[in-house]
């Protein structure tokens, strides 16, 4: 490539890719720098690890780290585990399969905050679920289901919102598996589970890894579901970051960098574990 051609390429990439790399690079750089005391917005900048030491010592922080990882991992695993059988079921068209696919994908059209509102409407103290349980005589009085301590409400919402996305990715991958491969396996006596384990899973591994990673990153950094439906005695990392920013940008930066590191490391780990479990061929 000539110098002139390189300049053309760079000029073409500048408004799109250039802006992305510049802006996200700056965001990451500022977050890391602020977590070490630089770019102080209210005074003198001092390079220090004090903010890290301070946060790592706080129970609030360690609980938020544990809690966010718990939400991220379970949201990703549950969404993918539910989407897989549905994707396999919808692999070959049958009467009504398009309608089924459309209904299953409907939550993709519902904004997260709206989903949270619809959900708390159903489970609230005098929501329809409490009315129903009392109506059939199982419960004597309404029960408090909102903001439960195990964060099942948040996990339900995350799965409700993300399962269709996993389904979208997995359906494409599963439909691409040729019929004759599966027929051959069936003829050789492979049962349903063996066919999944030895053929479908390895051949749809990269779609599954993509689904796991994208859902994990979204769920680990959840803010709105947590604030609306999550347990009141714990904070997610995003919530903690917004909360501590009111007092210290540097401590917020520590939480922000933690969140990025968890998103990155967690994604890699999930992808690797998925691959080891399924022992599939390399991603294609």
């Amino acid at each position: 490539m000539t110098a002139r051609r390189w300049i053309t390429v760079l000029l073409l990439l500048a408004p799109g890719l250039g802006l992305i790399v510049g802006m996200i690079g700056m965001v990451v750089y500022i977050a890391v720098a602020q977590s070490f005391g630089l770019y102080n917005l209210n005074g003198e900048s001092v390079l220090t690890v004090a903010h890290w030491a301070e946060m790592l010592d706080r129970k609030l922080y360690t609980r938020a780290v544990r809690y966010s990882i718990y939400i991220g991992v379970w949201s990703a695993v549950l969404s993918v585990a539910l989407a897989y059988p549905l994707a396999i079921w919808l692999r070959k068209p049958f009467r009504g399969s398009i309608t089924v696919g459309a209904i299953l994908k409907a939550p993709l059209l519902v904004q997260g905050l709206v989903a949270a509102f619809l959900f708390i409407n159903v489970i609230s103290f005098h929501g329809i679920l409490n009315q129903f349980m009392q109506g059939i005589g199982l419960w004597d009085a309404p029960r408090r289901l909102q903001n439960d301590r195990g964060a099942f409400g948040v996990l339900f919402l995350q799965t409700w919102k993300n399962m269709p996305f996993a389904l979208l990715l997995l359906t494409g991958a599963v439909q691409a598996i040729p019929d004759d491969v599966l027929d051959a396996a069936r003829d050789m006596g492979a049962g349903t589970f063996a066919r999944f384990r030895k053929i479908i899973a390895p051949l749809s591994l990269s779609a599954m890894q993509a689904a796991l990673v994208i859902i994990f990153i979204g769920a680990v950094a959840d803010f709105s579901f947590q604030v609306i439906a999550g347990p009141t005695n714990r904070q997610s990392l995003a919530q903690l970051m917004v909360f501590v920013r009111q007092t210290s940008w540097h401590e917020a930066a520590v939480v922000g960098v933690t969140l990025m590191v968890i998103a990155l490391v967690g994604s890699l780990l999930l992808a690797v574990i998925a691959r080891l479990l399924l022992r599939g061929p390399a991603s294609r």
Partner: protein, 275 residues
């Protein structure tokens, strides 16, 4: 049990689940938005004792709904158009100009999707403070939204640019067409579905984006999602939240269905923009 029978049993089960999953929550939201304040909806009634559109008119007249709608519906189309213009050159380059490292460049485009939204929002405001650019929240959110949604636009348009046929371009050039005429004759027909899809997808994403709008916009710049969040948080008023939820979700569903139908007719492989 035959495959068809299994399918029909599964279909029945699925329809029941979907009723619980979708119809009940939305029906509840519609009912809550119609509760008349004179007659509260108590748990002993299955339906609200008195229904009226009071909440809708009240929200329209006495809340930040009007400015929020105006903000959201100014921001989203502007974001869609600016993002499209910014994405075009990069998409053209990634699709039609071979250069070393092109695959890496395609991966780098996805960067904004990898960094969690709230981290981007918080440290984008830090950058704004550093640069002293806090005068226009609208422009700040617009800029951040463009960066955030560029990956979608670039990805969709790259696929479109790949579908432009070289012989059409060559034929137009051989017949002496000017660059503009060449673009209109050879590029535009192949690009049209991608342009349309990119505009729609970015529009929908911008309408419902919460993290940036909340962190950069607060306290004085509201969009429909941030207004809904405030109504779900400290001043939780269920009927008002129901009104806002429906306002936020209905145009979205209509636009998405429109997008799906349009893409299926134009180019099935682009469906949902995740091609």
């Amino acid at each position: 049990m035959t495959q068809a029978r299994i399918n029909s049993v599964l279909m029945g089960a699925l329809l029941i689940i979907c009723a619980v999953w979708l119809i009940i929550p939305f029906t509840m939201a519609i009912l809550w938005s119609l509760v008349d304040p004179a007659q509260p909806w108590t748990p002993d009634n299955l339906l609200p004792p008195e229904m009226s559109t009071f909440r809708w008119t009240n929200m329209w007249e006495n809340s930040a709904l009007k400015p929020a709608l105006l903000n959201s519906y100014t921001l989203a189309p502007t974001t869609a158009i600016v993002t499209l213009l910014l994405a075009m050159p990069t998409a053209y380059c990634l699709a039609r100009v071979p250069f070393p490292g092109r695959e890496a460049a395609k991966l780098l485009v996805l960067l904004p999707l990898v960094v969690p939204g709230f981290v981007t929002a918080i440290f984008f405001t830090a950058i704004l403070f550093q640069l002293g650019l806090t005068q226009s929240r609208f422009l700040a959110i617009l800029f951040a939204h463009c960066i955030l949604f560029l990956p979608f636009a670039i990805r969709i348009l790259t696929v479109s640019f790949e579908q432009v046929r070289q012989d059409h371009i060559d034929a137009a050039r051989d017949l002496g067409a000017s660059p503009v005429a060449r673009f209109r004759a050879a590029y535009l027909p192949a690009l049209r579905p991608g342009i349309f899809a990119s505009l729609l997808i970015v529009f929908i994403q911008s309408i419902e984006e919460f993290a940036i709008a909340f962190v950069v916009g607060s306290p004085d710049f509201t969009t429909v999602p941030t207004l809904l969040f405030s109504r779900l948080g400290q001043d939780f008023i269920r009927p008002d939240a129901a009104v806002l939820s429906l306002i936020l979700v209905v145009p979205n569903i209509i636009l998405m269905l429109f997008l799906e139908a349009f893409l299926k007719s134009a180019n099935p492989s682009l469906s949902s923009g995740k091609a």
